[in-house]
């Protein structure tokens, strides 16, 4: 795994548990080819915090990272571990997987941007899809509980074609929780919800996960969500992890870098004014 992007050590200040064991370790390389153009995903990081956020612009490879963790994408080169257990390991560039636990056996809950709610099942039928309970009464009770978490109790008997985008997203979240995942991956899961609902559902969801000790990796390009859903944040750009740490530190540093870039491109008078302002700030 040579030359993998290593997070900036200056920023490496994640919220780590006492035993210092990451719940997720990813080393991966993958090359996408599309119409002659290529995109290279080249990542190396470990996630420690129960709520970790991956933040970055569209097209930076965030969703592909989640697909690789979930087992839906077989990377060219990879070593992926959950709580120290290898779920994917290859040798050398283009090597065949030595270990590849298939997606259906990883018990990774994945909520994608597209809710992919099964149109031939009702909302409760969708939630029951992966339920392990045989008993109907227990199933019904669990469906009610999960629909409460996403504030969709009244939608239980409705068909997907009768639901809005936000309602479909709520059903997709409840369905994922019903499968009792050991790791939860969320890809812009609240994008279709209005702001107040987003906050409530997000709080309920994180409370549910925390109670069960389930780590959550959320992908977003929404700055507000980084602070709301992350104890630790990784920033990604062009298929690489650029920084890792607490949201405050990582994003402050990133803001300063962005300002430097902007100032560098600005005309001389603007730069001088910014410099004077910065001097005054320090003096003050």
């Amino acid at each position: 795994m040579s030359n993998a992007s290593i997070p900036d050590p200056e920023l490496a200040d994640p919220v780590r548990p006492a035993n210092n064991t990451p719940w997720l370790t990813v080393h991966m390389e993958h090359r996408f080819h599309h119409n002659g153009a290529g995109f290279h995903l080249h990542l190396a990081f470990s996630a420690y915090a129960q709520r970790t956020v991956v933040f970055g612009p569209s097209g930076s490879g965030k969703s592909s990272l989640l697909r690789a963790i979930a087992g839906l994408l077989k990377p060219d080169v990879a070593a992926i571990e959950f709580h120290g257990t290898t779920v994917c390991k290859t040798i050398g560039a283009g090597g065949q997987p030595r270990i590849f636990i298939p997606a259906e056996k990883r018990r990774v809950g994945l909520v994608m941007q597209s809710p992919a709610v099964f149109p031939h099942l009702t909302a409760s039928g969708n939630v029951a899809f992966a339920m392990r309970e045989k008993d109907r009464a227990a199933q019904k009770e669990k469906i009610t509980q999960l629909l409460e978490i996403v504030e969709a109790e009244s939608l239980a008997a409705r068909w997907p074609r009768e639901l809005s985008g936000g309602q479909l997203q709520r059903i997709a979240i409840a369905r994922t929780l019903a499968a009792e995942p050991t790791i939860l991956l969320l890809d812009e899961p609240f994008a279709a919800l209005d702001a107040p609902s987003r906050q409530r559902v997000s709080t309920n969801l994180h409370h549910w996960a925390r109670k069960r000790g389930i780590p959550v990796l959320t992908v977003t390009h929404n700055l507000e969500e980084v602070f709301a859903a992350g104890d630790e944040v990784l920033t990604m750009e062009e298929g690489r992890v650029m920084a890792q740490g607490t949201p405050e530190r990582v994003l402050t540093m990133q803001r300063e870098r962005l300002l430097q870039v902007l100032l560098h491109a600005a005309p001389a008078p603007v730069r001088e004014e910014a410099h004077r302002s910065s001097e005054n700030d320090r003096a003050g």
């Binding site: 087992g71 992966a130 994922t176």
Partner: protein, 225 residues
């Protein structure tokens, strides 16, 4: 109307359709989702009966199932009678001849299932066959219906393969299309007309049933305003 030939035709079409679906569903699943290099070859073999003259297919089947080949001899020994010129032989011929009419709509339907649905089912712990049973098949009901109706109607209208492999044994291998041929040969035009009309009606009703039950043929709510 030759009722014996009619009943035999309907029985043949029904048995062929059931067997075809049992074979075509897994085959179409493989064709729709595989990345294997053998896919193109298998696709071509499955589509061969569309372009191959029925007499060619019938001839090869007759040879393969007859005493000239080891396979034919083994089969005759196993069954106690030759497969050619029997109802079972007709079924074998019909299944092969109508295979593309079952496989093609199913492959199209399965391949059209939204990939994100399959990904969602996978991460929910659903294995390959579970995904096919609980996601792919329910979302391809239209294609299953098309495959069933086309297989049935195509078997009803079969002539060349049936004549080559089954001969013309009343009550055993004489289907409606062969009865029609005999009636014309005997200048019984009135009877031939009735048989032809009946065959036409069966095929027309089958296709009308198909088009009326397919979801896209139902009026959208906006069309009703």
């Amino acid at each position: 109307m030759d009722t014996v030939a009619l009943l035999l035709t309907l029985r043949l079409a029904l048995v062929t359709t059931v067997i075809l679906l049992l074979i075509a569903v897994p085959l179409a699943c493989w064709l729709a989702f595989t990345g294997s290099r053998a896919k193109v070859f298998v696709q071509a073999v499955c589509a061969l009966p569309i372009v191959l003259p029925p007499t060619v297919l019938g001839f090869y089947l007759l040879v393969a199932l007859g005493p000239r080949t080891a396979f034919g001899r083994a089969l005759t020994h196993l069954l106690g009678h030759p497969l050619a010129f029997s109802f079972a032989g007709l079924v074998v011929g019909s299944v092969i001849y109508s295979l593309p009419f079952a496989v093609q709509p199913l492959v199209t339907g399965f391949a059209a299932v939204d990939r994100s649905m399959l990904d969602a089912a996978t991460t929910l712990g659903s294995g390959r066959w579970d995904r096919i049973r609980r996601v792919v098949l329910p979302l391809s009901r239209g294609s299953l219906l098309t495959a069933s109706v086309l297989s049935f109607a195509h078997t009803v209208g079969e002539f060349g393969v049936v004549l080559m492999i089954g001969g013309n044994l009343p009550g055993a291998t004489r289907t409606l299309s062969i009865a029609l041929y005999d009636q014309v040969q005997d200048f019984q035009y009135a009877q031939a007309n009735r048989t032809a009309l009946f065959l036409l009606a069966i095929c027309l009703v089958a296709l009308m049933l198909l088009y009326s039950l397919r979801p896209e043929s139902r009026p959208r709510s906006s069309d009703l305003v």
